[in-house]
Symmetry: C2
Subunit: 378 residues, 2 copies
């Protein structure tokens, strides 16, 4: 097969995921165009073509996609109708618009799991807040907006009846809490030939208040049988969607060792950032391989890894400066990734770092100390 790299990939969204994809796409000479509503988006200067536009607008997405050979996303909240039209016009759109339509609406997503025998927690669809009172049996629960939630936004915890008033007025779902022992994630890739490959399971530790991933540990140390089940489950999910591209499947490991799908994202994902240094093939390269129908790469780990998100300090907004970073650069196996965002805001994802080494326990200790020593201030 002769590879002609004159392929242009269009990405809806120009944030850090697009940026790290460009870093990888460069290795194949691929041109990556981005469209993003932020004129200073992280991909601004790196995209071969950057459009400052509205990714939820039909005409803008259609016009953008017309100039590309393959269209993909780094966020779910995009104009699906335009993607469907691009697909009709013969463009490759991965993930496919029909998959995006289901996943971007958490109600449809949960219903999809139910319809396809994919284990997930009990839930009900809610159209307005007053309906919540009918479902006290599900408490404690999470009330989640069906659309537009991200990075911990659009989620309200309803522990007891007293919290019911905190629920959303907009269409949402009420999801019964799962009594889990671990939160894990499996990233699975699938190309047009139907070939699939999963990354080894990782464990996620969320910040107790921000509802954002604070630490990621790779590879997971849970029982091998659970890990194998999780990787099979991720393959089942992407197959049921008949999806091409990369799918991050977040799961709960229940106390009895069972698995429940929490939610999934049809794109590169925060739970795969460690793969850049921690695995033979990174999630960004794998995404490119999948959407171009190339052979999928070896996902094996090279060692243990801990990933930390670098978030803006809660009390600072403005031109970002990084305390403790030069010192962190003295640590062997510390790999830094800043996202090109000039302005910091409270809890804004400004970058991440990955610690790679042989001993996961030692890395965890190092990571917790490191996290405290870096501050992103203005």
């Amino acid at each position: 097969m002769t590879f002609d790299p004159s392929i242009s990939i269009g990405v809806l969204g120009g944030g850090q995921l697009g940026r790290m994809m460009i870093q990888s796409a460069m290795n194949l000479n691929l041109e990556v165009a981005c469209i993003d509503p932020d004129p200073n988006a992280p991909c601004k200067n790196l995209a071969s073509h950057f459009v400052n536009g509205d990714i939820t607008n039909y005409d803008e997405v259609l016009a953008f996609g017309e100039g590309c050979d393959v269209i993909t996303v780094e966020i779910e909240n995009v104009n699906i109708e335009a993607l469907e039209e691009l697909e009709r016009r013969g463009k490759k759109v991965f993930p496919q618009p029909n998959v995006l339509k289901i996943i971007k609406d958490k109600g449809f997503q949960k219903q999809f799991y139910l319809d396809h025998n994919i284990p997930t927690s009990d839930f009900v669809l809610i159209s307005k807040k007053e309906e919540l009172t009918r479902h006290k049996n599900l408490l404690p629960a999470a009330n989640k907006l069906r659309t537009d939630g991200y990075d911990g936004k659009g989620v309200q915890i309803i522990k007891t009846e007293a919290d019911l008033d905190k629920g959303f007025e907009a269409p949402s779902l009420l999801e019964k809490f799962v009594d889990y022992q671990k939160e894990i994630s499996v990233i699975v890739a699938r190309n047009e030939k139907g070939e699939m490959s999963t990354f080894p399971v990782v464990e996620l530790e969320y910040h107790p208040e921000q509802n954002l991933v604070e630490f990621l540990f790779s590879p997971s140390e849970i029982d091998l049988s659970i890990r194998n089940n999780a990787r099979e489950l991720a393959k089942k999910v992407i197959s049921e969607f008949d999806m091409v591209g990369l799918l991050a499947v977040e799961m709960f490991v229940t106390k009895d060792g069972g698995l429940m799908v929490n939610e999934c994202a049809p794109r590169t994902h925060n739970s795969g950032h460690h793969t850049i240094e921690g695995n033979i093939t990174s999630q960004f390269e794998q995404h490119i391989r999948a959407i171009l129908n190339l052979p999928l790469g070896d996902t094996s780990v090279k060692g243990s890894a801990v990933m930390i998100n670098l978030l803006g300090h809660p009390n600072h907004s403005g031109h970002a400066r990084y305390e403790g970073l030069a010192e962190a650069m003295e640590i062997t196996g510390m790999h830094l990734h800043l996202y090109g965002k000039k302005i910091t805001k409270p809890f804004r994802k400004m970058g991440h770092l990955t610690l790679v080494g042989d001993d996961l326990t030692a890395l965890k200790t190092k990571a917790r100390a490191l996290k405290e020593s870096i501050k992103i201030i203005a």
Copy 2:
């Protein structure tokens, strides 16, 4: 120390070395501007600012450098006087212009080794061809242009008296052949604080006709004592230059286990491409660390690595296509780097690939087969 990434790095040259440096600089939010005479240089779309200009022209280099905080190079053949003026105006210029002045002229470079007790082969400076006949005692030898030679160009082998007529008319040097057992390279970094760090020694195998590196093997398997000597010698060379930045020191290992410096390059280098995947810190990141006076990174190998240059097929010129590449992507641990060059020419450096694994011998076998299977055609 608080790190403010609002630093702009200016690179003279916008080829593959600049391109791979940008890939790394992104991780620190650094803005990288490039100036290159080729309007379609590999950095064209990736530099934060790209100037299509003449890097040997005083005014153009001065104007370019004025807009940057730190100026560096990816090629030696640049306007030194402009860099000296930028230095006088308070800009950081690494490598320093006085080092570039010595290294870009192979005559000055050899004389520098002699003056600083750095072992190197016997040589004489030649101003025109007819002088060659006076130095038959040095044959077999290489006649090298003092300036402007690169990638095997500007070198003429003078084996016997019969070849004397092939010598250059321009200022050159005649270098006695060294009866060596291996060609090796050590890349050494040095920051403004004077901290130094060497990468592990690698072995180079040149193509017998093209005089270009065909295979690179990492780490070298020669005796540890020779490797230690080589790393010390590289430190001595960069220290004698009092240079800040990255210096690639190519050496011969003589049959009795001694070392002779062949030549050096004050920048990232083809003999360090394998470090992207093969070592904890890549040469590109190390270069950035050095010129920004950051702590130098750990250079340890992660495993064995073989690097292959991907050159344009001798019989093809035009829009590049890659035969055998998709198949190569099935090989575990094969990491591809294409340089963004749309046009292939005979022996043009179009990219490289690195094979990483545990067993260097197995990797070598794999690499030789792989090299045959990839063809860059038009």
